[in-house]
């Protein structure tokens, strides 16, 4: 058996001693809360008021229509990358190549747009672009997946390498190939308006609902559709069952007639395709051109989103919303108080990955002891009734 995959601990079935609501509800909440408490302490050591900072961030993220739009726009990206990480996780794979896959997915979108936007109407262009994003993202995940499945190369290392290769490739292409002639900055020409995904404020205006302008576009609906599709895929299809089986125990899955190498490639390609959709939101939705680093950080944040959302679409929507709010609120905070840089969000994100991911077992033991002490006494054994 060549594919010796190490199972992420999040995949392991929870403790038998704890009831489900503690295991998937309370414990993750406490872990996230810990991350925020530490963030608050950090803000306090910087000589700032953590409560005031929280208030500014909340107001900045949800306080008015425009900010809400920004929050949801970030959330869209996080749902895509979070789902991507989660699908791979279910297959026992750690895909940290979301960054590169989103970047290359965007390349696919840009190629489709630049080649066809003069000829095709929006209605035909959109499906082609969605397909291109998925194919390019999946293609970039395919090579590490194939190498893991067939040659036993560790997918974590190869996906890290592929992030860097993608970055170099995109710089090369943007500087030498797709750059708009006569322009200094490495960007493509602007897409024709037939390749623009309608903004949410435009779409709502069709129904007579006027909202403030923001980068939020129809990709959000796509992201939510992806959540439903992933949920259906993982828990209600044969493929999903096989992915989970390989994730739980690849060697046992062989005896169930499942080919782990096929499933590894499948799970990684779906994961890559989901990351690739970031390109739809960013390029067709907002930038309307191909540019450098448009995927910056979204792929990595997907890891935090997926860990926090316990690899479930509902959890991922909630975690994506939290990170969207953090991004937007954090930007607002940095704008209002120059003592903060937007990097505060990066710190919080790191702490969330630390507490929800790496230290997720820390509180399980104490929690089990606490629960065993507090739970209602078990019913008396039958033997004592007979006596």
């Amino acid at each position: 058996m060549r594919t010796k995959q190490k199972m992420p601990p999040q995949m392991a079935n929870g403790s038998a001693k704890l009831p489900t609501w503690v295991d998937i509800g309370l414990l993750p909440l406490i872990n996230v809360a810990l991350a925020f408490v530490v963030s608050g302490l950090l803000i306090a050591t910087l000589g700032q008021d953590p409560f005031e900072a929280t208030w500014i961030m909340l107001r900045g993220a949800f306080g008015y229509e425009e900010s809400l739009g920004y929050t949801f726009y970030y959330t869209t990206n996080f749902i895509f990358t979070g789902l991507a990480v989660a699908v791979a996780f279910h297959g026992g794979l750690f895909n940290i190549g979301g960054e590169g896959q989103a970047y290359i997915g965007g390349l696919g979108v840009a190629i489709a747009c630049l080649a066809l936007d003069q000829y095709l109407p929006f209605g035909l262009l959109l499906p082609i672009c969605v397909l291109a994003a998925a194919l390019f993202g999946a293609g970039w995940a395919f090579i590490p997946a194939y190498l893991q499945a067939k040659r036993g190369s560790h997918v974590v290392i190869t996906t890290i390498m592929f992030n860097f290769i993608a970055a170099s490739l995109m710089v090369y292409l943007l500087v030498n190939v797709v750059i708009k002639p006569g322009q200094m900055s490495p960007e493509s020409r602007e897409f024709a308006s037939s390749a623009w995904l309608p903004y949410m404020h435009e779409a709502l205006a069709w129904f007579g609902w006027e909202v403030a302008q923001s980068p939020l576009n129809l990709s959000l609906i796509g992201a939510l559709v992806c959540c439903v599709l992933v949920w259906g895929l993982i828990w209600h299809t044969r493929w999903g069952y096989e992915i989970r089986a390989v994730g739980a125990n690849a060697e046992a899955a062989v005896y169930a007639g499942i080919s782990p190498s096929k499933i590894i490639i499948l799970a990684m390609c779906i994961s890559g395709a989901l990351s690739g959709f970031v390109g739809i939101n960013e390029l067709m939705g907002v930038q309307h051109r191909l540019l450098l680093d448009f995927a910056a950080g979204y792929g990595f944040t997907g890891i935090a989103v997926s860990l926090m959302g316990r690899n479930h679409p509902v959890g991922i929507i909630l975690a994506g919303l939290l990170f969207g709010a953090l991004y937007q609120g954090g930007a607002e905070l940095a704008f209002e108080n120059s003592a903060f840089s937007p990097d505060l969000i990066v710190v919080i994100q790191g702490l969330v990955v630390l507490f929800s991911g790496a230290l997720s077992y820390m509180l399980r033991g104490p929690m089990e002891r606490l629960y065993l002490r507090l739970r209602p006494p078990p019913p008396p054994p039958i033997a004592s009734v007979e006596a």
Binding site: P9, L46, F164, N176, G350, L354, A358, S360
Partner: protein
Amino acid sequence: MGEDFLLIILTFDATIRVSVPLILAALAGLIVERSGVIDIGLEGKMLASAFAAAATAYTTNSAWLGLGAGVVASVLLALLHGFACITHRGNQIVSGVAINILVSGLTVLLGVSWFSLGGQTPPLTGDARFNSLTFPGAEAVRDVPVLGPIYSELLSGHNILVYLAFLTVPMVWWLIYRTRFGLRLRATGENPAAVDTAGISVIRMRYLALILCGILCGIAGSYFSTGHGAGFLREMTAGKGFIALAAMIFGKWRPVPVLFACLLFGFLDAIAIRLQGVEIPIIGEMPVQFIQALPYILTVVLLAGFIGRAIAPKASGIPYVKEH
């Protein structure tokens, strides 16, 4: 001819300078992976120590105190990694990712708050940096053909951390292959249960390996900001931790091959800048980005088993659960 020769010497000189953090970090990774812990947080540890070293060196005007602070910061992060994945058996990849993200934000956040320079530290001068050492007679022999430039440019004129890095290679080799500690370390990475049966604590071995890893990454990070550069810049390690990881795999977890992998990757880095816009016979103009991506591409090819096979220590990445 003389000019070409000098150019070659200067390229090798640049190779040495950029290889230093790679060598230290790759050896750091080698030690922990030999103990059975995967550490993709080399990048984060180097970045943290680069910041701590620059901030301390600026405040105290002493590069040595900076180095001390850099090492402390890096060792603390290594212990955090150990706390998460040795003590609490968390996922080692997740923990490494967490450390990388955390440090990437924290260095800038603290930098902005302390120095208000957009995440940089003020430039370091004088004793706040490790200045280059000139070997005796380096100036005198400069004009001697061939050997002169080699001695005065290539060997002399680096700061002390450069020599320390190259000295670390035989030291790590000796530690791994010629000491009792090294034997136990290798055994812990291959078969921890056997080590446990022999009455040696797997947990203690792994923590010790992580502390060594922290020290080496701390020196590597300090080199960035107080040796090679003059102050901290945001994201100044720029993925070098991952190149070091690649070099460690490329050198198949053995100190001397790892050294050569680091020199190769450093050389690619050094010539990438020189080859910009230069026509090479037969190949034509080589894209700089391709040369920059080459270490990653080579590592993937190696991992795929097309040029030899890279086999990791058997127990790396698996938390050790002691049997009761």
